[in-house]
């Protein structure tokens, strides 16, 4: 069973599916939707079956495949997942079918007020599937070149989704998104190109295989430049202050369904890349940069949260909360403790689900009122209790209520950071307080109070919408109580990564404390 090319299939299936859906006749939109749903469901099932074959405590990278792709450049089609990559792949493939369900009617209808003529829904679903293939590919790639290819190619479907299906300012938002990402990606390209002669020099043969590259010891100025090339690209992607400004614009204009994938999964590539590539390939440079990165992370946490409080547009609000949350993830990654990094990885998954749920719900709300402004709502709870209730659960997960998933990861990040860097951890903790403000205040203004006149006729969640959100809410609650299975998969990978970076956890006592919260198996 392990010989089965799991990951290649997981990449090829949605890619071919995208082609197939794209070639379907234009008139029959239902068929396109059904095909997209079917393909993404099969993909999810396949990924879950694969997960059951994953051996915790086995080799670091499993389900590996390696074939020559471009010999001239030393590039392989090399895929494989460790625990960290595995949970992110799972996050992607679970979210896609839900997004397909959630976008069932929304696709082809442009958001915002100036509703342009109907757009082809089949292209939207084809783009979603193409994006899924690239998301799986980017997490599964164990060849840096291959990673880069997916990293860049991923932008194109998103660009078209935002630009073609987005709100009134869509083309501005799409171009801003693409240019920010391309700029970062091109800087990373310099570093990627540079790795080749470097590996020739250090290893005797040019290669882009991650597991060979992380054995060479690059240090000095070269390492710092290379690190920066990667880091800037990932910081833009993540997004961190001060290169975050594309996200609120993209979020405000993007259709809500796609937004779940952009913020929920795509941006994780940034933090995942930091954990995987920045730290392991250039440990020395990573340590050198740590103070600045931690400072930026703390700024992101506080600044993102403060801006979130001030937003009047629901999608922008959720986007800013994500900036804040990504600050936590980066903090955990660069804390360089096993709790911090395990927590950060877990945070990536949890954030994917809780923000995904928020965006889906916000999308449903916008579809009902045709406006994303907070003051367009009020008293929704009275007329649409299920909508309000799920919104509250997703929101509470966002503010780290104990018992919901994000709590575990946020605590692990803070504790993991505190054991090495006290000041940033303390400052970051203020993010939790701010989170309470932006979530609860938003809830109060949109859901609480007397129902407004315009809101009165608002229908509650339909069956389709419930089907899209329910699994996420279930996962949020489940992961709040039993994060163990996920952590079990993540921990060994994180520890192996940390061993590369050559750091040890500082105070063993703190590890003991965390165990009570279920961080340690």
């Amino acid at each position: 069973m392990t010989d089965f090319p799991w990951l290649s299939v997981l990449i090829a299936l949605p890619a071919l599916g995208a082609l197939a859906v794209g070639l379907l006749p234009r008139e029959n939109e239902t068929l396109a939707k059904q095909a997209a749903l079917g393909i993404s469901l099969v993909e999810a099932v396949l990924a879950i079956v694969m997960t059951t074959a994953f051996k915790v405590g086995g080799d670091r990278f499993q389900f590996t495949e390696k074939y020559w792709w471009i010999k001239q450049f030393g590039v392989h089609w090399a895929v494989g997942v460790d625990g960290v990559a595995l949970v992110l792949v799972l996050l992607s493939v679970v979210l896609v079918p839900l997004v397909v369900i959630a976008s069932w009617d929304e696709a082809g209808r442009s958001g915002g007020t100036d509703t342009p003529p109907k757009r082809s829904a089949k292209v939207y679903f084809a783009l979603l599937l193409a994006l899924e293939a690239m998301m799986v590919g980017v997490f599964a790639a164990t060849d840096v070149f291959l990673f880069y290819v997916f990293f860049e190619a991923m932008l194109i479907p998103v660009y078209f989704i935002i630009g073609y299906y987005g709100g009134p300012q869509r083309s501005y938002a799409a171009v801003k998104f693409l240019l920010y990402s391309l700029f970062g990606g091109l800087l990373m390209l310099v570093s990627v190109v540079w790795l080749y002669p470097l590996s020739q020099e250090k290893l005797g043969h040019g290669t882009f295989m991650f597991e060979e590259l992380n054995t060479m010891h690059v240090d000095g100025t070269t390492a710092k430049w290379l690190f920066l090339g990667f880091f800037v690209a990932f910081a833009i992607k993540a997004p961190m202050v001060p290169v975050h400004t594309w996200l609120p614009d993209a979020a405000a204009q993007s259709p809500a369904g796609a937004l779940v994938l952009v913020v929920g999964v795509l941006d994780k590539v940034g933090t995942y890349g930091m954990l995987r590539f920045c730290l392991e390939l250039f440990p020395g440079a990573a340590k050198w940069a740590t103070p600045v990165v931690l400072a930026l992370a703390v700024i992101s946490i506080v600044y993102g949260a403060v801006l979130a409080i001030g937003q009047v547009d629901l999608k922008r609000l959720v986007a800013y909360t994500s900036v804040s949350h990504f600050g936590f993830i980066v903090l955990g990654v660069f804390a360089m403790t096993s709790q911090g990094q395990s927590g950060a990885t877990l945070y990536m998954v949890n954030h994917g689900f809780s923000t995904g749920a928020l965006f889906l719900l916000v999308g449903f709300m916008i579809a009902r009122r045709n406006s994303a402004r907070i003051d367009a709502f009020g008293g929704v709870q009275k007329v649409a209790p299920v909508l309000a209730g799920t919104f509250l659960v997703a929101g509470l997960s966002g503010l780290s209520l104990p018992g919901l998933s994000t709590f575990v990861s946020e605590l692990m990040v803070l504790v993991g950071t505190f054991s090495r860097h006290r000041v940033p951890a303390v400052l970051a903790a203020s993010g939790i307080v701010l989170a309470a403000i932006y979530i609860l205040w938003t809830y109060q203004r949109t859901m609480g109070g007397p129902a407004r006149e315009e809101v009165k006729g608002m229908p509650d969640l339909s069956l389709r919408e419930k089907v899209a959100v329910a699994p996420i809410i279930a996962i949020i609650v489940a992961m709040g109580f039993f994060p163990q299975p996920v952590l079990k998969a993540i921990n060994p990978s994180v520890e192996k990564g940390l061993a590369r970076v050559d750091v040890r956890d500082p105070a063993p006592k703190i590890t003991g404390n965390v165990a009570e919260n279920g961080a340690r198996p």
């Binding site: 471009i70 450049f73 003529p117 693409l178 310099v190 190109v193 080749y196």
Partner: protein
């Protein structure tokens, strides 16, 4: 070949010896020139109605035969010969460049031969707006002189990168350029613009040829020979007048850089690309660039190799200027052909980045880049010929608004070409860029690569802007229509196929370029 004979002729009053010519090795050029001459005869002797049906197959057969012979030469042994008494080099890179030129010329031929929407004036000699023009247009005559003219130009392009001495190279330069000047002026619509482009190209081209010739003369004064290998020997001996040498190299470089359109010698490109009939623009943007780059590399790799420490900083500067200026000026363009012209300037800069490495990898990377870029660019110009309104091609950017809604396939293909130009992975543009950047980093030119990626980011902006116009804007009521003649569609299909294959499975072509570059240029 006359020039080759002259260059090889010994001085003094000796009897003029018959030059020894290896006809087999020169066959690709001879075939193309021969067919071109035959084409002229066809013009004279075949009736007007059937000329087109004779010219097109004749031209195609000529190009295919030349290509087949080139393949044969490359496959037979490791080609590394100097033919025609040393005037012509037959070696890996040259054959690669020649093969590329021939294939791209075939693709361009598809555009030129398109009859459904011909791009050429019915009669070149008729003045714009004159009665004669109206008559010929009404009679529905088709221009067929373009085919022999194109073949002469292609012949020159084959000879240009193969020339091993500067005088032969000059002859090739002229053989290549003169028909192109003419072809530029043959546009059916907007003839004044076209003729203006032709005159501009001719004047500037003649000027740059003069530079080239002057440089050749000075180098002759320095080395006592126009043969590249003799110049290289003289350079390695470090003898002779340095002033003559530097001035000669400088002037020669101006002539060569003009042809590839490097900044600051790029001024002709936008005007000529815009004014020329689009199929000819496609031919120039692909084949001429490939041939000129081949010649540039030969001169610098063979003739001035020992001098590389001196010319490298200069080339760095030119490469940086070319990339940055090309990308930045392109942002302000509103005409698609001008935009692609500036994009071609920027791409010349990327190519120079690979060239300054002066390594096998740099050469191989540049060769691959040329193939990749050539196909994409022919495809892109082919798409431009397809989008038309009442006044001919609708090349103004604003006219393309909402094309994605009107004809998603054509707009999608053009968007794909633009993404390839921008160097997005899984397109040939990315592979090419990676190849030259890798060579540059290995050649310790990392700062150049950084400038390269930054200007790629700038360039991405205007490629993306076109996509925005096509897909994210609302279509106009009286927007252009898409007319796809079968030949043009075939050219587009070839362009797309090459762009995908070289992006996804570039290995065979990279191997081929690598093999071609193993022994570098023959001296």
């Amino acid at each position: 070949m006359v020039a080759a004979g002259l260059a090889a002729a010994p001085s003094g009053g000796e009897k003029f010896p018959a030059p020894h010519i290896e006809y087999g090795m020169l066959a690709p050029m001879l075939i193309v020139f021969g067919v071109a001459v035959a084409g002229v005869l066809v013009e004279a002797f075949v009736s007007r109605r059937s000329r087109y049906y004779v010219q097109v197959p004749l031209t195609a057969v000529g190009l295919v035969a030349a290509f087949a012979w080139t393949i044969g030469l490359a496959a037979r042994d490791k080609p590394f010969h100097a033919a025609a008494m040393g005037a012509i080099g037959v070696d890996g890179p040259t054959l690669f460049v020649q093969g590329t030129v021939l294939v791209l010329a075939l693709v361009s031929l598809l555009l030129i031969a398109e009859r459904q929407q011909t791009s050429f004036a019915a009669q070149a000699s008729a003045l714009p707006g004159s009665e004669a023009e109206q008559e010929t247009t009404a009679a529905g005559t088709t221009q067929t002189e373009v085919f022999p003219l194109m073949l002469f130009a292609v012949g020159g392009m084959l000879m240009f990168p193969a020339s091993n001495d500067l005088l032969t190279m000059f002859a090739a330069l002229e053989i290549m350029s003169l028909p192109l000047y003419l072809l530029c002026g043959l546009a059916r619509r907007r003839r004044l613009l076209s003729q203006e482009a032709a005159v501009k190209y001719f004047l500037l081209g003649a000027f740059s040829s003069a530079f080239f010739l002057y440089g050749t003369a000075l180098l002759y004064g320095y080395a006592g020979s126009v043969r590249l290998s003799d110049i290289a020997d003289q350079l390695s001996k470090d003898a002779g007048s340095e002033t003559l040498m530097l001035a000669g190299v400088g002037l020669l470089s101006v002539g060569l850089l003009f042809k590839i359109g490097a900044v600051p010698f790029h001024m002709w490109k936008p005007d000529v690309y815009q004014g020329a009939p689009t199929p000819i623009t496609g031919l120039m943007a692909s084949c001429t660039l490939v041939a000129a780059f081949g010649a540039l590399m030969r001169v610098y790799y063979v003739g001035f190799e020992t001098l590389k420490w001196d010319w490298r900083p200069f080339m760095w500067g030119v490469a940086i200027l070319t990339m940055v200026a090309g990308a930045v000026i392109a942002i302000t363009q509103t005409d698609l052909k001008r935009l692609l012209a500036y994009s071609s300037v920027a791409h010349a800069g990327f190519l120079l980045t690979g060239m300054v490495a002066v390594t096998r990898d740099g050469l191989a990377g540049a060769l691959f880049y040329l193939v990749a870029y050539g196909f994409t660019t022919v495809g892109a110009f082919a798409v431009i010929t397809m989008v038309r309104d009442a006044g001919g091609e609708a090349a103004h950017l604003s006219r393309w608004a909402g094309l994605g809604r009107r004809s998603p396939l054509v707009a999608g293909i053009f968007a794909f070409f633009l993404l390839a130009f921008a160097g997005i992975p899984l397109t040939s543009g990315f592979t090419g860029k990676f190849a030259v950047f890798k060579a540059a980093v290995e050649g310790h030119a990392t700062p150049l690569v950084v400038v390269g990626v930054l200007s790629s980011a700038v360039a991405a902006f205007f490629y993306v802007r076109v996509i925005v116009v096509m897909f994210f804007s609302e279509p106009e009521a009286d927007g252009p229509t898409v007319v796809a003649g079968p030949a043009t569609a075939a050219a587009v299909a070839l362009g797309v196929t090459a762009t995908v294959v070289l992006g996804v499975l570039p290995q065979p072509m990279l191997d081929l370029a690598g093999h071609a570059a193993t022994q570098m240029f023959v001296r």
